[in-house]
Each structure stands twice: as structure tokens, then as C-alpha cells.
Symmetry: C2
Subunit: 333 residues, 2 copies
DNA sequence: GTTTAGCCAGAGATCGTTCTCTCAGCCCAG
DNA sequence: CTGGGCTGAGAGAACGATCTCTGGCTAAAC
């Protein structure tokens, strides 16, 4: 039983395929009797327009690629990816566009550009955190528009679509929160220095501390992972055993840091207060639960989808939205 | 600048489009000079076959839907989904098929069936854990083949594709492991009784206990979530304060259970040994780390993809593969 | 009553690829 | 030298929806 086509519907309804198409496209200037007959026939056959034919004729694919590092997908870090992924997929779904998953962490460097040229998609959303520079490079001269979630390291065209959260403001929030809790001997476990968001968090942190009259505070670097957070905390503690507040610029690093603090006999938050960054699910499941700077990850995904769709539909929108971060108060600070 | 078509390539190469098509399809019976000219022209133009036209002509979409409950995606439980998702997406990618994400937890009940009828996909992989029965019902008379990851509650056709892990064997593994550790006063925190995998785990657990000469052991039920695990553990502990081993049939419930045990002053594993089920990432990040029965989640996704593709390509394969579970020894038992 | 305007249905063309059919040319054999 | 077989290139059709254009019919106006 082959899939019913528009011609089948038209035949049963006793009209031409043009008329059937008009009815199904919702056009009003069609005789009501005919329209009813078409509707009836379509329902009866379970007719659904063939998407390939529509695509070919219409020039639009009705699909958007979600380019994401699969290997990050199910790690705990992955809560970052899954949140953004979820937001983006929901946003696309709401826009009646199909999200197509494309793995970014694969050898075959030419496959993604080829896919972009195949006309199978109208645009792409790139969720690269630990980014793969050569891929970003391969994507900048894409034939279809791309929305970046998070700043890639490479330079983008001025009209590029970039969705980011307010990392600078988040750094300031963390500093203020610790200061408000009466902490003065503060340290930061920052991310890698070659990542823009990591640098912005440091900058916000320092600016706010300066404003508060705290002029120097130690800085150590981690890699946004749990173990790197533990290692960084150990270094920090060795150099500044008397600190009473730590800002770890990811929840995962905060989790690693807290374990080291507890193992060293420090109570969290009474001896040392800890603030994380991200607000992924581990923040609520650890003990103590983590006070953290929330990035609206799902919103970032959703905004990426909405912005990209708006651009595709020719609407004039803000191409570099920055979503605000906020402090989520829990037990650790 | 419109996308280059086959005609453009043919024109530059000085051949007909049929010849160009033959070359690009890798057919050998083409004059080598012409073939070289075509290759050259295609490369020069950055030509990539239009997927819509190919789809329309070929009848195949080259895409598979991944139907998944988005709302589960970024919860901790979600590590189940993301692992399967990752495996499935990788498997499809390897098969040169595009994975299209389709949210299962949406109101519009007719949208997914309509999508399946649109010809945009050749098949679907359904990852429903906390399942949405009406959706499963809507999917059973799908025009395209469907691979189910995990047994749905509804009855499926005998030739349905179902990928599952050995829940029965896993239950037995848990029982044996606790018994081997010298535990005899055992209890189980099972899943909901109306879920097939949950029942199978109980059956395996009981059979193995019987074989070991342990004839009755208490059973309580949870909902596979952390909080339900805590609540179930509290009930279990109240009724059987002297137990020394617990099998929680999900890692999340095990995590909740361990917290309750610790709060009640029981050391894990010295006073009470705990075994989980799944081996998702929380198992390695909790303290103590969790001994658990591993489900090969990523493999299940991959096998789902491979089986579905094999069926689509007309190959004769096992349609109900059962992947074996294994014990992962860590600290909690 | 006739002419014109307007509305609406249907025929045709189009999107780009792939498959089939036809035909031209060449080689070998009779 | 001619006919048959084979190789390989090109023309045409098909996939199915949608858009344009044309033509017929009706209604209204003069």
C-alpha cells in the first residue's frame, strides 16, 4: 500500500490536485462543498503531504541541525548540553521545524559541511563548549545561517548569531554573594584562560571584589570537570589555608572542591562557603546542596532556536542576545 | 548565489546530467576523461546532491526519528535517556542516516503520527521509559518500522523490534552479589509493578534468592526516582530494622536509599550493603560509590539503530535482542 | 440583453535527481 | 564487407507538491 498522494485525494474528492492543494493549504477561495470533499478524502486516506516533494518545490527544508559534541552528552557535564539541547529542540518544535542531531566529535571533517550544502537543513545551532576549533572553522563559511550557543574562540562575522549568558554579571553576583555572607578571604577556581566565558567570569568577580574593597584574591584554574575542581581546590587550600569563601566557576568543579574541603576537615558552608556556576542538576543532588550562579541553559537553547528561525524568516531581531544570570541560594553559601 | 545543481556540474564538465550522475554515484562504466572532468567540476562548484530531490526520487528519506520524552532529558534520570540517545545517534550516524529528534511529551497527540506519514523519515526509535501509553498506542500502526528501546506496556506485533536488557539476569546478579558478600537479611526496593522491566528484576532477584535458600525477603516499591527511593528505604527500614543488604532497582533509588540509611546511623556498606541498577553517572559520583547492575545503555541505543537499519535494508536480523547486564563492583556492596 | 469584471477550478510547468530506454559507435566474427 | 553484440552517453520520464497562468462561469452593471 503506497502512501496516498495529493492526486489520490483529489481523485476521491472529484477535484483537481490544484484544488486539493488549495484546500489543504487553508486557502479560503474554494467552494465549500469541494473543500469539504477534499477534507473528507484526506482524512479517509490518512493523507499527509510528502515532505520531500514540498522541500524540493519550496526550497525550504523545514529542518535545523543541532550540532553537538555527543561525547559530552551523557557525562555529568552533559547536563549543560542536554539543557541547551532540550531548549533548542523545544523551540524548534514550536516553530514546526525538525531538529536533526549532528555529532560534532567525529573524525570525518568534511561530512558536516557537506551536510550543510545538501539542502537538507535551513540552518544550524552549534552547541560547542569544549570546542573543536577545526569544526568551528569549517562552519564559518556555511551556506546556511548558524546560531552559536556560547562564544566560539574564532572570530565570527559581525552579523553572526551568538547566544550567550551574562558571564561577567555572574562573576559579580558570586563575589557579592560571598561578601554579603561576611566572607573576606576569597579565592576563585576559574576555568581555562583561553575560554572567553571563563575570562568574563573572572573579570566580573574581580571588578566586584575591587568595588567591595577586596583587592587581591587568589586564582587557580581548572578544566570545568569534577576532578580538576578537586585538584584546583587542593592547590588553593595549600596556598591559602585560611580562606573562607570559594567561587568555582562550574558546578562540577564546585562539587570536586567541596569534597576536598570536607576531606581537609573544613565544614561547608560554616568554615568555607562555596558558590558554583551553571545550576545543573548536580547542584541539587549534592550534599550540601550548592548555592550557584544560574545560567538559563534551556532558555539559551530556546532563544537560539527562536533567533535562528526569526532570521530565516527575514525578521529583524537581536543577533547577539545575552541572557542574564542569577544567584540561586542553597546550602553551600 | 543559488546552490549548484547536477546540471551545472554537467554543463561545466561538458557532459549530460546522466553522465554526471553516474560518475558521482561511483559507477565504473564511464569514460575516465569524462569522469575526471565531472569530479573536477563538482569539486570546483562545491556540489552536493540536493537531498530533497534524492528523497523524492528515491523514496527513502535517509532519516530516522528519535522519539524521546524531552522532559526527562536533563533530569538526573535523564542519564538513562542521554546514554541511549547517544548510542542511537551514533549508530544512525555510522549508517549515514540522520537522526531527527521528536519530543514525546507534547500535547498535540496527532503530530507525531502525521510526521511518520509525511515520508520525512524511514523509521523511528522510541525511547520511552516513564511511558506515555497513548503515544505508544498511536505509534503501533505506524507506516514506518519502529524500534522500541525497552518493553512498552502495550502489546506489540510479533515482528516488532524491541531492544531490551536482561532485567531478569540483572536481578539474579544483584541477589548473588549480596549473598556472596555474606548478607542474608535482604530487602528489595523495586520499581512500579506495572512496568515489565521492574517485574523482571524482581523475578530474577527472587529466583536467585530461592536458589540460595533465602526464601522470603521484604519488597517495597518506588518510582525509579531519588525521592521515591528514600521513602521506600524508610518504609523498609521501619519494617525490617535489622536488614544488612538492599537491592534498589535503579541507581537513583539507591542514592536516595543510601541517604536514608546514613541518616539512620547505618554505615554503607559495613552495616548495610546496597546495590543499584543501571550504572548511570550518579553511581560514580556519589559517596560511597555505588555497586550496581550495569545496563549497557549506549549499546542498547546503538543496537536499536543497527537493528532498525538492518530491517529497513531488508536484512534478516534478530528483532528482539536482549543485551546482557553485568555487575559493576564499587564501594557500596 | 449584452458586455465586462471578478472569482475560482484546472492544466501545465517547475524543483533536482535518478532510472530506464534509446541510439550511436565500435569491435569482432562470420 | 556486413551484421550482431556490446559498451557507454544522452534524452526523457518520474517522484509529488506548489505556483502561475489560463479559461470558463457567474453576477452585476449599463
Amino acid at each position: 500500500m503506497p502512501r496516498p498522494t495529493l492526486v489520490d485525494v483529489a481523485k476521491i474528492a472529484g477535484v483537481s490536485r490544484a484544488t486539493a492543494a488549495r484546500v489543504l493549504a487553508g486557502e479560503t477561495n474554494v467552494d465549500v462543498t469541494m473543500a469539504a470533499a477534499v477534507e473528507q478524502a484526506a482524512k479517509e486516506l490518512g493523507y499527509e503531504a510528502n515532505s520531500a516533494a514540498r522541500m524540493l518545490r519550496g526550497g525550504r527544508a523545514g529542518a535545523i541541525a543541532l550540532i553537538i559534541a555527543f561525547n559530552e552528552l551523557d557525562s555529568l557535564t552533559g547536563t549543560f548540553f542536554t539543557s541547551v539541547l532540550k531548549g533548542a529542540a523545544k523551540g524548534l518544535y514550536a516553530g514546526e521545524v525538525q531538529p536533526i542531531l549532528v555529532p560534532a566529535d567525529h573524525d570525518d571533517g568534511d561530512r558536516i559541511p557537506r551536510f550543510l550544502r545538501s539542502g537538507a537543513i535551513d540552518g544550524a545551532i552549534v552547541i560547542l563548549q569544549h570546542e573543536i576549533t577545526h569544526l568551528a572553522q569549517a562552519l564559518i563559511d556555511s551556506p546556511v545561517p548558524i546560531a552559536w550557543v556560547g562564544q566560539p574562540r574564532i572570530a565570527l562575522a559581525p552579523d553572526a548569531i551568538v547566544i550567550d549568558s551574562d558571564n561577567y554579571g555572574g562573576g559579580r553576583l558570586a563575589a557579592r554573594a560571598l561578601a554579603d555572607a561576611g566572607r573576606r578571604r576569597l579565592g576563585i577556581i576559574a576555568g581555562p584562560n583561553d575560554m572567553e566565558p571563563a575570562r568574563e567570569r573572572i573579570r566580573g568577580w574581580r571588578d566586584e571584589l575591587a568595588r567591595l574593597g577586596i583587592d587581591d584574591s587568589p586564582i587557580v584554574h581548572g578544566e570545568f570537570t569534577l576532578v580538576s575542581g578537586s585538584a584546583a581546590m587542593a592547590r588553593l587550600l595549600k596556598r591559602y589555608p585560611d580562606l573562607d569563601g570559594v567561587f568555582a566557576s562550574s558546578d562540577l568543579m564546585a562539587s570536586g572542591a567541596i569534597r576536598v574541603l570536607q576531606a581537609a576537615g573544613r565544614q561547608v558552608p560554616s568554615d568555607v562557603a562555596v558558590i558554583g556556576f551553571d545550576d545543573v542538576s548536580i547542584a541539587t543532588t549534592m550534599d550540601p546542596t550548592l548555592t550557584t550562579v544560574r545560567q538559563p541553559l534551556e532558555d539559551m537553547g530556546r532563544v537560539a532556536a527562536e533567533t535562528l528561525l526569526a532570521v530565516l524568516r527575514g525578521r529583524d531581531v537581536e543577533r547577539r542576545p545575552i541572557l542574564s544570570t542569577s544567584l540561586v541560594q542553597r546550602e553551600s553559601a
